[in-house]
């Protein structure tokens, strides 16, 4: 935590931490506490007066079927994104780990989608699935399936899920490949001598050994799907049709900036903060464990 020897105390360390601390106070702590404060207020329709209402905003959210369904939807969305992108990445990493030459070439070819902004990923998939000119609706129509995600909520959800998962494959692949390559060769060789074939080895040796990575990625992907996919949803569906793709973050934005419901948006912010804190704690707990490996 601290060096054995340190510089003598003076005003200097305060100056050194000052920029970070000032930015943190003004743009993090203060707005966050404002959110907490506003979550206890209700503003009238004209913004003329506010009333302190304790937990009314929260109980209102609790009773709001839109909010509850958006909660469930966010969890479904996150689970699908995490599962799809991790499964796909795991399979590719498993094969990339097998190839003797060229695993770095494949890595190069697979990691670049990390650099694509979520909103651009959304734009790309929107183009591919555009009901009038998109390539996939064209193919689907040939086999007798009508595609229009502007009207069909299930299709809209599917579209944002694959757009979000596509972007995240790169990240998961990178971590899975690194985890597999760090397994000592001798362990897989010993399993092979014991008579385990490649699939069995993967299932009984490699997969259990990389389970810490799986858990780590699960937390990271869930966090990503919860908070960083705003751009995808904003570009592809704007939460629609009929709120079928409105996630929690999208709802905070929409209620706050479009609906101008300050108290409600603030209460949603507070709930999200609690979620992030929970996820961060899980992540740190896990990292402590991982260190012991």
């Amino acid at each position: 935590m601290l060096k054995r020897v340190h510089f003598p105390a003076s005003i200097l360390p305060y100056l050194l931490v000052a920029p970070q601390v000032i930015v943190t106070l003004i743009f993090f702590i203060w707005p966050a506490s404002q959110a907490v404060y506003q979550s206890f207020l209700i503003e009238d329709a004209f913004g003329l007066s506010t009333e302190f209402v304790w937990f009314e905003n929260f109980t209102y959210l609790w009773d709001d079927s839109h909010y509850r369904s958006s909660f469930g939807r966010t969890i479904f969305f996150s689970a699908c994104v995490a599962f799809l992108s991790m499964a796909f990445a795991l399979i590719l990493a498993g094969f990339a780990d097998r190839v003797i030459r060229g695993s770095t070439v494949y890595r190069t070819l697979l990691i670049w989608p990390y650099a694509v902004a979520p909103v651009l990923a959304g734009a790309l998939f929107l183009f591919m699935f555009n009901p009038t000119i998109g390539i996939f609706p064209f193919i689907l129509e040939k086999i007798g399936y009508g595609w229009n995600h502007y009207l069909n909520g299930g299709q809209a959800m599917f579209l944002v899920i694959i757009a979000a998962a596509w972007k995240q494959v790169a990240y998961n692949f990178l971590f899975y490949l690194a985890a597999m390559q760090s397994i000592p060769r001798s362990i897989t060789e010993a399993a092979a001598i014991d008579g385990a074939g490649p699939i069995r080895r993967f299932a009984t040796i490699i997969f259990p050994l990389i389970s810490p990575t799986t858990f780590f990625l699960l937390v990271i992907n869930a966090t990503y799907a919860f908070f960083e996919t705003f751009g995808i949803i904003h570009a592809v569906t704007q939460g629609g049709p009929a709120n079928s793709t409105t996630t929690l973050v999208y709802k905070v934005y929409n209620d706050g900036f479009v609906g101008l419901d300050l108290g409600g948006s603030a209460a949603q912010s507070v709930i999200l903060m609690i979620l992030v804190i929970g996820m961060t704690v899980i992540q740190f707990r896990f990292i402590e464990k991982r260190v012991q490996y």
């Binding site: 305060y14 796909f88 697979l110 670049w112 000119i133 390539i135």
Partner: protein, 283 residues
């Protein structure tokens, strides 16, 4: 690998090539879309092979302002805004995180741990969960539609601070002792010893933060209402909306390409640093 069966090796390569193709498909379609005339893009099925209009479209898009009928800044200017924002965020985060990690590791002073935890808390407060009040603060400070408003609220960084703290902790104590015997004061030690010893970590972090900064969406969407301040990534949304009136998909796809090429280029060109940065910041 353990087995030496050519069949398995070929299968592995086939599956990997298929995977790469699936991952690359959306970008390929974008590239193809950006290389045809607008009229061609309205006939189904859309082409799967590049046309000959790529450079024509590139020229028109880069110097123009996107679709006819939209009121946005020229694309080159939005790219410049994106570049400036990405650089300011990356340098800003690195600079203030280096300084605070230096203070926390090498000084013993009252409230040291208090500051440490305060920085830690920022990890739990992503901009997405406090959108409205943060926007209000920036608006009150008169920082809307400015580069400062675009970047400064994003430059506090717990991850970068922790990473540098970790890096500094692995530097032997004797470096500091030796430097003190040599007569180096704190800032001199920081510049002459710490910064050079952390330079690959700084570079790795820079790659990650540049991408992070370039790809910002929600924040610039809120902060920049002037067309002149818009970033290329944010503009894509306006393009998609405008497409309903004037569906010039070749231009939209070209803008999308222009928006993603710089960060992709950075990832591929600095792959080693990128991988190092990703794995280090998540420790």
């Amino acid at each position: 690998m353990v087995e030496n069966r050519p069949f398995l090796a070929i299968l592995s390569h086939l599956i990997l090539i298929l995977g790469v193709a699936m991952v690359a498909l959306p970008v390929w379609i974008t590239f193809v879309g950006a290389s045809h005339e607008a009229e061609r893009m309205l006939q189904t099925p859309i082409p799967m092979w590049p046309g000959d209009q790529f450079f024509v479209n590139l020229k028109q898009t880069f110097w123009g302002s996107g679709l006819t009928g939209t009121s946005i800044a020229p694309v080159w200017m939005m790219m410049f805004n994106s570049l400036l924002m990405a650089l300011m965020i990356a340098f800003g985060k690195i600079a203030i995180s280096l300084l605070s990690a230096f203070a926390i590791v090498y000084f013993k002073f009252p409230f040291r741990m208090g500051f440490f935890w305060m920085i830690f808390i920022t990890l739990m407060l992503p901009v997405e969960v406090r959108i409205l009040p943060t926007f209000e603060v920036v608006a009150d400070l008169g920082m809307l539609n400015s580069y400062w408003g675009l970047t400064i609220p994003l430059i506090a960084s717990a991850t970068a601070t922790f990473m540098f703290r970790q890096v500094f902790l692995t530097i032997p104590d004797e470096m500091l002792e030796s430097a003190r015997i040599d007569g180096a004061g704190p800032m001199r030690f920081f510049w002459d010893i710490l910064i050079p010893l952390s330079r690959t970590n700084i570079a790795a972090l820079f790659v990650i933060l540049f991408i992070y900064g370039w790809n910002q969406y929600l924040w610039p969407l809120l902060i920049t209402t002037d067309a002149d301040m818009s970033t290329i990534v944010v503009s894509i949304k306006q393009m998609l909306e405008a497409a309903e009136q004037s569906p010039e998909w070749n231009i939209i796809m070209m803008i999308a390409l222009l928006a993603m090429v710089p960060p992709i280029f950075v990832v591929i060109a600095m792959q080693k640093l990128f991988v190092q940065g990703l794995t280090e910041t998540d420790k």
